[in-house]
Amino acid sequence: MSVALAERLDDATRDASSLRRFLAGLPGVDQVGLEQRAATLATRSIKQDAKRWAIDTAISMVDLTTLEGADTRGAVRSLCAKAVRPDPQRPDTPSVAAVCVYPDLAATAVEALAGTDVAVASVATAFPSGRSNRAVKLADTALAVDSGATEVDMVIDRGAFLEGRYGDVFDEIVAVKQACGDSHLKVILETGELATYDNVRKASWLALLAGGDVIKTSTGKVSPAATLPVAHVMLQAVRDFHEATGELRGVKVAGGIRTTKDAIRYLVAVNEVAGERWLTPSLFRFGASSLLNDLLLQRRAKQDGHYSGANYLPE
């Protein structure tokens, strides 16, 4: 992006009204054009070696997630085992990037994943609605971090954002980031509640300016969750942020991505909208649970030349 933007960035975070001015000055998003571009890019046909590469890359980008009231320690432990060795009969299958759980189960996941490369991510800040006060949200974050989670998935205060209290949203992200210490902060925008692509763009920049390491589409608890056009807007934001500041920030798409075909469409979008350097688990993630099994089945099909039943994969 232009030099002018880099200069405006310094000014943007000075106070609440500068932030509002900056966000209002972002170029608009044309809905028809954006959706058309996303649909065109979704027609890319990924075959053979490229597909093999894409499947392995997608597996390595999965945040294997369980966020249910019914979660048990046993279920989390078996999820962790699967995260490390997704397809035990094919030891060359890459591990996933992280396991994502509620904060009270973070310690269980940390214990189960000790000594592996798989990270533990914990949701926090009164996930998924974010309806609590700052103190509770920070205590929630502290629980996650103290339990050993190296990644924290926070939700923004959508109410404050939609009311136009950008400064409050910004301050909260800054506070949570501080509470995270060395842990990575993913900021969930819950794009399904933001209503317009313009808002998605504003919320993306707001989260990036406040220090979010990754901007994330959704909690998975609200429909619509991740969509390709929304991912385009967020990928444009991290690309432009990098252009302006030199800093590399990531994107996580979550919710509703269940098939290999969907996942590959997102990888194509990453490749052609943000650029090749974002095609790494440190800068792009899939928040998903059932996606992994489809990736594994497609991986087997590529190797064997035929499909095998889901019964060969661990639960």
């Binding site: 232009s2 170029p27 571009r37 027609t43 075959k47 052609e272 090749e276 350097r277």
Partner: protein, 483 residues
């Protein structure tokens, strides 16, 4: 650094069912013409695709004669609701054979399969569907009571959208009760001849549609034929002027859709990311072989650097190559002649002092290809700003005020289309009244809909195709003695 190299994903060439030899379609049957046969090439390889029998002047006579007979005996007396059935049937058959037509179009023309599959063929079917709906409602088109067809239409179409241009010509002619003799372009005759098969499949009465392949001489025979009532031509301004001169003083009705040098105007409040897409789509769609291509980018000074740097980054992602590969964005230039013309104009741009930037994408060794190119620092006096290049070459100029944008946009003998990118609705409306262009797109580009009239101002021609105005071009008006 990871590399996401898309493996080749070619569409199966056999789907096109290319025959070695194609014949003209006259009076409901395929017959050998007496003209010199022509060889049509696959521009992506330079290899011969098929041989096509062309017509002589006596063949044109018999085609016009067949069309006249069909007009008088069958097609014009037929109730509109009956005509509609045939046209609907043609539309459905185009959809049924869409894959075959798409692959054949890409083979013969060089355009990427993504475009022939997702744009050309579905839009062609849409034009037939739309006009089929009009056939029994002409009384209610606001063109007077019981509007009457003109008779035999002689139609000459270009090579850039072979089947789609055929649809633009044939669908309104048939819906209004005219019969047709159509000459496809010399380099892209194949889909028109498959369309002739579709007419047979649809049981269209013999002579209602006739297809006469050949070069410019056949076009001349057709448009100057004394028994042709209406000439519709899409092609270069040079040939359009020639036709108009030849038809001056005759009773033959004429519509012309000619060249263009469209301005695509980007204001500082535009949705920049989508404007970039619109610029790319405006000039690199169909290798820039588009008469309404947004070949002149006018960008407001305050965002010029940002737009240009984003544009270059985007253009670098365009994939040039095998038109049949489903991931190809830019296919082959249609012919060696066109490639030479593009090269000549690009060289003139460099000579005249514009700064050339060309995408570093790999270019195939075989076939006719030209990498997407953007010229900045372009002055209105340069040839690349004035002449239609008809290739993937964009000329960029800047402007400071809206008035300057209007002046620059209108500084051209052409007036086919224009694009405006701004979030301000009032500015869009103001510009549409100032821009001397037949189509003005707002926050989009190169969108075609059968309900929207398309046509030019100034040297881009006259007459409209599509919508109610498009029907009027094939119906008698007050000056034809209609009631």
């Amino acid at each position: 650094m990871p590399v996401f190299d898309y493996a080749p994903a070619p569409e199966n060439r056999d789907i096109a069912r290319v025959k070695q030899y194609y014949q003209p379609f006259i009076g409901g049957g395929f017959v050998d013409g007496d003209g010199e046969p022509l060889k049509t090439l696959n521009p992506a390889t330079g290899e011969v695709l098929a041989e096509v029998s062309t017509v002589s002047s006596s063949d044109v006579d018999s085609a016009v004669h067949a069309a006249r007979r069909a007009f008088e005996r069958v097609w014009s007396p037929m109730p509109g609701a009956e005509r509609a059935k045939y046209i609907f049937r043609i539309a459905r058959l185009i959809q049924e054979r869409a894959r075959e037509l798409a692959v054949l179009e890409s083979l013969d023309n060089g355009k990427p399969i993504r475009e022939s599959r997702d744009a050309d063929i579905p839009t062609a079917a849409a034009y037939f569907f739309y006009h089929a709906g009009w056939a029994d409602k002409l009384d209610y088109a606001g063109l007077g009571p019981s509007p009457q067809p003109l008779g035999v239409a002689g139609q000459v179409i270009p090579w850039n959208f072979p089947l789609l241009m055929l649809a633009w010509k044939i669908a309104p002619a048939l819906a209004t009760g005219n019969t047709v003799v159509l000459k496809p372009a010399e380099t892209t005759p194949l889909t028109a001849l498959v369309f002739a098969e579709i007419c047979q499949q649809a049981d269209l009465p013999p002579g209602v549609v006739n297809i006469v392949p050949g070069a410019g001489d056949v076009g001349e025979m057709l448009v100057t034929h004394p028994d042709v009532d209406k000439v519709a031509f899409t092609g270069s301004t040079e040939v359009g002027k020639l036709i108009q001169r030849q038809l001056a003083g005759t009773r033959t009705r004429l519509t012309l859709e000619l060249g263009g040098k469209a301005a695509n105007i980007v204001f500082d409040d535009a949705p920049i990311d989508q404007a970039i897409e619109g610029i790319v789509n405006g000039i690199f769609f169909n290798q820039g072989h588009v008469c309404c291509a947004g070949s002149r980018l006018l960008v407001q000074e305050s965002v010029a650097d940002e737009v240009l740097s984003k544009l270059r980054a985007r253009v670098e992602t365009l994939r040039l190559g095998d038109p049949l590969d489903k991931n190809t964005d830019i296919g082959a230039i249609n012919s060696a002649e066109q490639l030479a013309k593009i090269r000549e104009l690009v060289a003139s741009g460099e000579d005249e002092g514009a700064q050339r930037w060309t995408s570093p994408c790999p270019v195939p060794e075989k076939g006719f290809f030209f990498a997407p190119t953007v010229f900045s620092g372009v002055e209105s006096s340069m040839r690349i700003a004035r002449e239609e290049i008809f290739g993937p070459v964009l000329s960029v100029q800047t402007f400071r005020t809206p008035d300057e944008a209007v002046t620059k946009a209108n500084t051209t003998p052409y007036g086919l289309s224009a694009g405006v990118w701004t979030e301000k609705g009032s500015r869009i409306l103001w510009l549409t009244s100032k821009l001397r262009a037949g189509v003005v797109w707002a926050n989009t580009f190169n969108r075609f809909d059968p309900a929207a009239p398309f046509g030019g101002y100034k040297e881009s021609g006259f007459g409209r195709e599509g919508g109610r105005s498009g029907l009027a071009a094939y119906l008698k008006g007050d000056d034809d003695g209609a009631v």
